[in-house]
């Protein structure tokens, strides 16, 4: 604990002494983390939207006019035997009409048109596994349309399917932006910590000569990288909340990232900082030993 405090204090000292560089570094890191956070936020909200629409994912199979109640029920039982279908419910055209009128606020469609325009239908719900698979509804609709008694198999929630496919893209974008962010963080730290290292090279060389281990020299820089990224991560989260409020004004219902994700974001920022600092410092540390400052007397 004492050592932790010592190295943290040293790192803080480095941070304050090189405050110009540190500030520039934190701002650059904050921008990178903010971009990454933004992708996380969008992805989180798209995911939420998709999940809330999950329950609406289903197929409605319209039977050809003339197909009787008995045949309709038989088809429903056949469909239920499919692996990816959880339930297939035969709906009589009168029930379907009543449901529709109910949905439209008891608007009397039947009386208005003089007859029931709806055919018998089968309402189909997919299994969880199939629902999670992009394109499942579309392929099922195609398959069911091959039955001659089936007039049309539609999924009114086609946009859910599109959303799901887009969600996959968002996830990929997340991964890519995450990777790029880590790279950008490494580059920013590589530059700033090397500058700091160069600025303190004489001091570090003295430390080497009087018996400092590599670990002793390295640790404050690792802490410094961690602290800078933690600060940048915290700032990015603040800006992210600002961005969320802005988006919410445009698209009501935009949710903030969950607390666990925000905590993970902070811890992850610090870890990336430490790792990137390690990568930045090692070559400089090796050069410190190799570069002669030779004066032969």
């Amino acid at each position: 604990m004492n050592q932790f405090r010592f190295f943290a204090a040293e790192a803080w000292d480095y941070l304050i002494r090189g405050r110009g560089t540190s500030l520039a570094s934190v701002i650059a890191l904050c921008a990178v983390f903010f971009l990454f956070g933004l992708v996380l936020l969008v992805s989180h909200n798209v995911q939420n939207a998709a999940e809330s629409l999950e329950s609406r994912k289903g197929l409605t199979v319209f039977l050809v006019p003339g197909v009787g109640e008995e045949r309709g029920s038989e088809l429903a039982r056949t469909f239920e035997g499919f692996g990816e279908i959880r339930t297939a419910e035969f709906v009589h055209r009168d029930v379907a009409l009543a449901d529709l009128e109910n949905d439209l606020g008891d608007f009397p469609i039947g009386s208005a048109l003089g007859e029931n325009p709806l055919p018998h239908t089968i309402r189909i719900e997919l299994e969880e596994v199939a629902r999670a698979r992009a394109g499942a509804l579309l392929s099922m609709a195609h398959e069911l349309s091959n039955y001659e008694e089936v007039d049309e198999a539609i999924f009114g929630d086609q946009f859910v399917e599109t959303l799901e496919q887009n969600l996959h893209m968002v996830r990929m974008a997340n991964l890519s932006v995450g990777g790029l962010s880590a790279l950008a963080v490494a580059l920013v730290l590589l530059t700033t910590l090397r500058l700091l290292f160069l600025g303190r090279r004489d001091t570090l060389r003295i430390l080497k000569v009087v018996g400092a281990t590599d670990q002793f020299i390295r640790m404050p820089f690792l802490f410094l990288g961690g602290i800078q990224c933690l600060m940048a991560g915290a700032l990015a989260l603040i800006f992210l909340e600002g961005a969320r409020i802005f988006f919410e004004a445009l698209f009501p219902g935009v949710e903030p990232l969950p607390v666990a994700v925000r905590l993970g974001f902070l811890v992850g920022s610090a870890l990336i900082g430490i790792l990137a600092s390690f990568a930045a410092i090692e070559p400089s540390l090796r050069r410190l030993e190799q570069e002669p400052e030779e004066v032969v007397r």
């Binding site: 004492n2 003295i206 000569v209 032969v296 007397r297």
Partner: protein, 232 residues
């Protein structure tokens, strides 16, 4: 304690062939040795070989139980802590006070307890007569005081070997004399003190043994007989 066995040293890309050539020397425990020689004679290189800041190109250097041929990377900091080093340009950390400079070399070995740090820094700063200026920064001190501070830092680990590379090079005669008196005291307390210098007069006054280097070779190696507490 320190042994050079047929040591050769050459710097990569240097025009000169050998900076040190076939040097065989032994420094005994408790000696006060002066290395004399003109610029380029190889004094600094010889000092750097003791702390393994440089590795010999040929032959080997033995310091305590460390052998330049077999020493591991992780053992080098230990070796350096057993050898205090003082330089002509002091090499103090400018943004730390004198007390912090001394404490820093203890902190690097894991001594972080405040009372332990305070006890050691107090002891060495009193020893070099700088306790009253413990909170000053190096730039606020005179050259002589900075060199005293550097000696205090070198003494923090109670080294058995103290290497001083031109310790009076940046000081006037009186200050130089004071510094060598201080080094002599350290020597009398039991440490082997090796001073690289080009000042023959100072060497004659303080040395028990004088080794003259010329073009990387040992030209003479003489012991000077005198009372143990001379020059104090």
């Amino acid at each position: 304690m320190i042994r050079f066995e047929n040591v050769y040293k050459k710097y990569p890309g240097a025009r000169r062939s050998w900076v040190l050539e076939d040097v065989t020397l032994e420094f005994e425990t408790g000696e006060m040795v002066f290395l004399l020689g003109a610029s380029g004679a190889g004094k600094t290189t010889l000092m750097k070989l003791v702390t393994l800041e440089e590795r010999p190109s040929g032959g080997r250097v033995l310091v305590h139980n460390y052998d330049s041929e077999t020493i591991g990377k992780s053992e080098i900091p230990e070796l350096r802590r057993r050898c205090g080093v003082v330089y002509q340009d002091f090499r103090l950390i400018r943004d730390k006070t004198i007390q912090q400079n001394v404490a820093y070399v203890l902190q690097m070995t894991g001594v972080l307890d405040k009372s332990a740090l305070s006890a050691v820094t107090r002891r060495v700063l009193v020893q070099v007569g700088l306790f009253a200026k413990r909170n000053d920064y190096p730039d606020e001190l005179s050259g002589g005081e900075q060199q005293r501070a550097a000696i205090a830092r070198a003494l923090a680990h109670q080294p058995s070997i103290l290497l001083a590379d031109e310790p009076t090079g940046n000081l006037d005669q009186n200050m130089g004399h004071d510094i060598l008196t201080l080094l002599r005291r350290v020597n009398l307390a039991g440490a082997t003190v090796v001073v690289a210098s080009h000042d023959h007069e100072l060497a004659m006054r303080f040395a028990e043994r004088v080794i003259v280097l010329e073009n990387g070779r040992v030209r003479t190696d003489e012991r000077i007989r005198r009372p143990r507490a001379f020059a104090l």
